[in-house]
Amino acid sequence: MNWYSASPGNGEARVNSEQLEQLIAAHERQIYDYLHYLGAGKTSVIEDLVQDTFLAAFQSPNAPTLSEPTKVAAWLRGIARNRFLAYCHRARTGKVRADSASLEQAEAAWSLEYLRADNGSEYLDAFRVCLQGLTEKQTSLIRMYYTENYSRKELADELGMSDDGVKTFLRRTRAALAACVKRRLSLAGTPSGNVGQANGL
C-alpha cells in the first residue's frame, strides 16, 4: 500500500483521502482520549478538536512516514496540542488554561507514563485493578463525582463535609490510585514481578 504520496521535487509529503480514512480509523480514539486528558472538557469541544486535528493533518505538507504508527501518533498529538492551544486562546474566559510549556509537560506524561510501549493498555489494566482496591467510601464518592456528576458542592452537602473536605478526599483517592498503579507497573516491570500479587491499595 502506498502510505503517503510524496510531491516530487520538493520533499514534502501529503496524506491523501484514502490514507486519511486509515489514519482516522487507527488514531481517532487515541486523539480523542488525548484531548480529553489535555482538558478539552465537553464532548462536543473534543469532537470538534479531533476533527480539526485530522483536517490539519490532511492539509499538512509534512506528514511523517505513515508506516511508523508511533511517529504518526506523536505527530497527530502535536497537531492536537496546537489545536487545543489555539482553542484555549480563543476561549480565554473558559476554565481551561494551557500554554506551550504545560502542554509539553502533558505530552511527556502521556507518552512516557501512560502510553508506554503498549498504547496505555498496561496502565489501564493496572488502574482497573487498583479501582477494585478502593474502600467502599472511596468507591462511592468516586461514583457520585465521576459517574453521577455530583458537583463538589452537592457532594459536600450530601455527605455533610466541607467543600475543601471533599476536594481533599478526592485528591487523596486519586493519589492512592496513582501510587497503586505505579506499584503495579513497577512490579510488572521486574522479571520476577507478579502483578496479580500486588496488593493495590
Partner: protein, 359 residues
Amino acid sequence: MDYDDDRLIDFLLEKTAGSEPRRSRAKEILAAAAKAPTQRAETARPRTRMRRAAWFLPLAAAASIVAAVGIAYWMRSASVDTLSGKHIVALTSPVTQELDDYCQITLDSNSSIVVGGGIKARKVLLESGNVSCSVAKHVGSFAIECELGTVTVHGTKFSTHLNGVRGSKGAAEDSARSLSVELIEGIVALATPWGGNTILSEEKGRPKYGAISSGILDDLSKVESDPWVSVIADDETEPVKYSVHDAGGQDRKELMQSIKLLYKRNRVRLIWFQTDSINLAAIAMVEPNTVSGSVSGSVIRKNERWIDIKPANGGIVERYTATNDIEMLRAVKIGDRVAIDWKFESHCKRVNSIRGEHD
C-alpha cells in the same frame, strides 16, 4: 492545569466512568477534506444519556441485617414468686403496681407490661406506652426491657416510654419504634440490641435518653468542629437534630467514626441523650433485608435527586434516590401516586424504574 499523576488519574476516572459515548467524526472529516481543506464539517451532535460503567455495578449491597430483637429470659422465677408472668394493662387511666417492696411502677393509660424476673431481681417487659418507676437503693436489681433495649437500674426513679408501629411483615426494616427514658433521680443504663451502653446519671447531667430503631438521615455534618445528624424517625414526620456532645475522649472519636460512614438518606438507628440539647450517643446504618424490591405510594417530599414515598399500604416513609439518570424524577410531583422498582446500591435505595399510578 498541571499535567501530573493527579490529572492522569482524573482523566482515567472520567474515561472509565463512561460519560457520553463517543461518536466517530470520520464521515464528517472525510467530507470536509473532500470539499475544502480548511472547512470544518457541520455536524449534529446528538446528546446521549450517560452510561454507567460496568465496574461500578456490582458494588454495595452486602447482605442484610438488623438485629434480631432480643426479648426473652426474664421469666426466671422463684417458687413463691406470684408476680412473674403477670400481664398488666392500663387502658383509660394509670395503673400502679408494687413489686417486691422495693420498686413501684406506674403505667400511663394505653400502656402494657409483663412482669418477669424473680424476687428482688425484677425485669419488666414494656410492650407499649409509658411506665414510671421508682426503685429503692441496695435492695435488688431492676430492669425494663423492650425490643429497643434494656434499662438497668439500681435505686433510682425514672420513666420509660416506648412508641411506634410494627409493620405487617414483622421485619425490622418495616417496624418503627422509639424508646425514651427520663431520669428523675439516680443512675440508669440503657443497652440496645445493636450495641452501645449509655449511662444516664444526674451527675452527668443526662436527664433523658432514648433509642430509635429506624429513621431516615435527613441531613448531617461531618465537620470536626461541629458534627451533627438530623434524623426523621420512621414514626415521626419532622427531623430532629442530634449534636455530638463535645466531651472529647474515646466516645466522641468512635461516634465521629460512625458518622463518617453515613450518607444522607441512609436508614439509621441511634441512641440519644438530652442535656441542654439533644445529643447523639451512638448511630449506625440500617440496611434493608433485601437488595431490591418494589413499592407503590404517594410522593410526600422530593428534590431533583430523590423522592420520599409513603407506601399505600400504610408502611413507613422511605427515600428513593435517582440513579445516574436524574431526569427520571423530574416530572414527579409531590402528591403523585407512583410505583417504583428499587435496588439497594451505594448506601441507599435507588430507583430502577418509576411509573405513575392512577386511582
